[in-house]
């Protein structure tokens, strides 16, 4: 169950095609604030309800021009299987902009369901209540 680590690595290295291969065709990929999830609110920063949507997102990332070059780096904790079968892991994503020191960009928790060693569902639940305008790449 090294899927979370591969997920982070592939995003950090901009290997989007390989990243897409980690998902099933009818996957659900969601990035949402912890606060909204706890309150049962359906608001999400990113919501992709199939691999096709994910692919569109990736194309948007790769072609956007309003985008200061930056690097992201994931450090992901060990995955744990919960009683309901879901896999969870803590993550920290660091961001480095040119000529600036590295900072913490986002921390939170992955919650995933697997199907034949792919993500059938990947929820990225981040701790911040700030609207992360600068989310361009998936987390």
């Amino acid at each position: 169950m090294d899927l979370f680590t591969r997920h982070g690595d592939l995003l950090d290295e901009d290997r989007f095609d390989d990243w897409l291969d980690l998902f099933t065709d009818d996957c659900e990929y969601l990035v949402a604030a912890c606060e909204n999830v706890e309150r049962g609110l359906p608001l999400a920063t990113i919501r992709c309800e199939s691999k096709g949507y994910l692919k569109d997102r990736v194309v948007a990332v790769m072609t956007t021009s309003m985008y200061t070059p930056r690097s992201q780096r994931h450090v992901v904790g060990a995955p744990v299987q919960q009683d309901d079968g879901a896999w969870t892991a803590s993550y920290a994503v660091f961001q480095t902009l040119p000529d600036e020191p590295t900072s913490v960009f986002s921390v939170g928790r992955y919650v995933a369901s697997l199907d034949q060693n792919r993500f059938a569902r990947l929820h990225v639940i981040y701790d911040s209540t700030l609207v992360l305008n600068s989310i361009v790449k998936p987390l």
Copy 2:
């Protein structure tokens, strides 16, 4: 030996009862500055010498009113067994306050002895020399 990861997850999710189950009845739980440990000083930020003490601590956390809501997130490295049998792991704890960016709250090292897959001893040795006044939840 995924105990460190579960420990961090359960604290982050405020699942204190499940967290207490990770400890033996006569456990020793300690949070201390690296500097004091290296000098052999007995000073500790938190010291609980049994599961009963730990439980009191948890009740205090859950009932305190002088407490700005915040979220903590652990990211824990892989555990390593030392020559003396103890298990160690690096940790980073991030803190997010409402409407503020996430920051590094504490980093350091876990040192643990196990008994039947529970913590008989868990020492949290943090790197900072600052007194962490804001430690309310266990690390």
Copy 3:
């Protein structure tokens, strides 16, 4: 393949002799900015082309007097084997100076080749474009 975690632990604990034991005699140890690696530039912040060079570096660290005491803490993600056989892992290194809060010092990626469970090659590719003047200890 817990070598990355041991590497970080031993550096953080200043156990340099044990750290040297993680390398083969003719090891290559390199610390370089991601930007330079991507552009194929040979510039490196640290380059040691044998265990002897590494040992010199360690002696320099231990005897330098222009060195504010500080602690470093590694948190290393799970290692992943790439198609070319190399092992990679994400890392974050945090730094704590006396009476200051902990900050992110460096994040990036380890790329390693192993020989009989030692590092024959360890490249530390860090994300920042800032010249890290304060790199004294290996990362």
